[in-house]
Amino acid sequence: MPTRISPIEKFAKAAAKCSVESSAYGKCIVVDYNSVHKDKCLTEFLRLKNCYLAAAKKP
């Protein structure tokens, strides 16, 4: 019987595959974290999210 993987574990696993994009996004925020506004790093985030979605799809 396969052990049940919780949704957050799946999420973490997929997110871990996108460390490059995640770090690029983080750098974009941290470079000037006193003036963060909505969609400040939208392009970086979309890159990260696309990577995550692709990673989450793979079994």
Binding site: A12, S22, Y25, I29, V30, D39
Partner: protein, 355 residues
């Protein structure tokens, strides 16, 4: 000249009239008796979170490392008090972590003796009280229960203590008071159930606890959604605790802090551990349904960039506030009055310039 208006010709909306009527009948505004209680946390949510966490016994035990460590450090402070305690209360006992810590071998071993009895030999009876039954009874089958005279008591409401006045020779509390809404009232109640000249020793999360998670979630909320929601509880500060203890009538106060930094592989394991500890967010007015996936994904990157260690792990700070206060009693040592000192401390310490 008054500007002409059409308002008096229009039919008056019903709601306006109702407001007028209620205004007439209200009379004077008076404050309800008693202090207004400030509600910060949803106690019922906290209760459910603890029940849920404890129902997964294995996960819950794995995540007990912090509570066990703090319970151990807290019970070490009992060593400073050379006394036998007849009846001790552990308030907010979680899974009886203090009881377990008390049965461990004495950490402060007397070099002249080969063995030292555990602290539990100095306590005749320990009452462990918590609102979550599942968590309180989680470890009821473990061997440490036989080594200490322990009674478990489920409280209906941790903020109202059901004990008689002057019942206990000491009250201990480890990592549960940070979920109390009305801290001044809680401390006053603890003072009430203590016998005169008895200590209250407690540890709670305070100040900068989880500041890494707090700041990175704020940034990711801000960037993804354009606003900030409460994800990490507001916590008491070290400076506040002294005042609160004093206001509750405790004497000879000692308050100190201790940071424990735990390294996690990623933010998800941090949050899963917090959940397994039963320490998830229970602030009133938090968003229902947890954190959005987008924010979680953003948070991972920001946490790592902002706070991450060089070896790729993520530190999480837990700041413990330890406090000791004594209930006033006859023949208790008191601080000398101001200005009664006869010797200048400068003469004893050498009196050099402070560098």
């Amino acid at each position: 000249m008054k500007p002409t208006t059409l308002r008096s010709f229009l039919p008056r909306p019903a709601i306006n009239q109702r407001i007028c009527i209620s205004r007439v009948s209200r009379g004077y505004a008076v404050q309800a008796p008693g202090n207004p209680t400030l509600q910060v946390f949803n106690r019922n949510t906290k209760y459910l979170q603890k029940e849920r966490a404890a129902s997964n016994v294995e996960r819950s035990r794995q995540a007990d490392y912090l509570k066990d460590e703090v319970a151990m450090r807290l019970s070490e402070r009992l060593l400073d008090i050379n006394r036998h305690f007849n009846h001790v209360l552990d308030l907010g006992a979680n899974s009886c972590n203090i009881a377990r810590a008390l049965t461990l071998p004495d950490p402060d071993i007397d070099p002249s003796k080969t063995t030292s009895p555990p602290l539990s030999t100095r306590i005749s009876h320990l009452t462990a009280a918590d609102s979550s039954r599942t968590l309180l009874y989680r470890d009821v089958d473990l061997p440490f229960n036989q080594e200490i005279n322990l009674t478990r008591q489920v409280l209906d409401d941790e903020e109202r203590l059901p004990f008689e006045a002057e019942t206990f020779d000491a009250v201990l509390s480890s990592l549960s008071m940070h979920w109390i809404n009305d801290l001044p009232s809680q401390l006053a109640q603890i003072n009430h159930v203590l016998k005169p000249d008895s200590p209250f020793i407690a540890a709670m999360f305070g100040g900068d606890t989880l500041y890494e998670l707090r700041t990175s979630l704020q940034l990711s909320d801000q960037e993804r959604r354009g606003g900030v929601a409460t994800h990490v509880s507001p916590l008491a500060d070290v400076r506040d605790m002294g005042g609160l203890l004093q206001k509750a009538g405790f004497k000879m106060l000692t308050v100190d802090v201790d940071d424990i930094i735990v390294d996690f592989p990623d933010t998800f394991s941090l949050m899963r551990d917090l959940q397994a500890m039963g320490e998830s967010n229970a602030v009133l007015g938090r968003e229902p349904g947890g954190i959005q996936k987008d924010v979680l994904l953003a948070n991972e990157g920001i946490y790592r960039e902002l706070h991450g260690n060089e070896d790729g792990t993520l530190p999480a700070t837990f700041r413990m506030i330890y406090m000791i206060g004594w209930k006033e009693g006859p023949n208790q040592a008191k601080p000398l009055p101001r200005g009664s000192g006869q010797i200048n401390i400068k003469d004893i310490l050498g009196g050099g310039e402070v560098k």
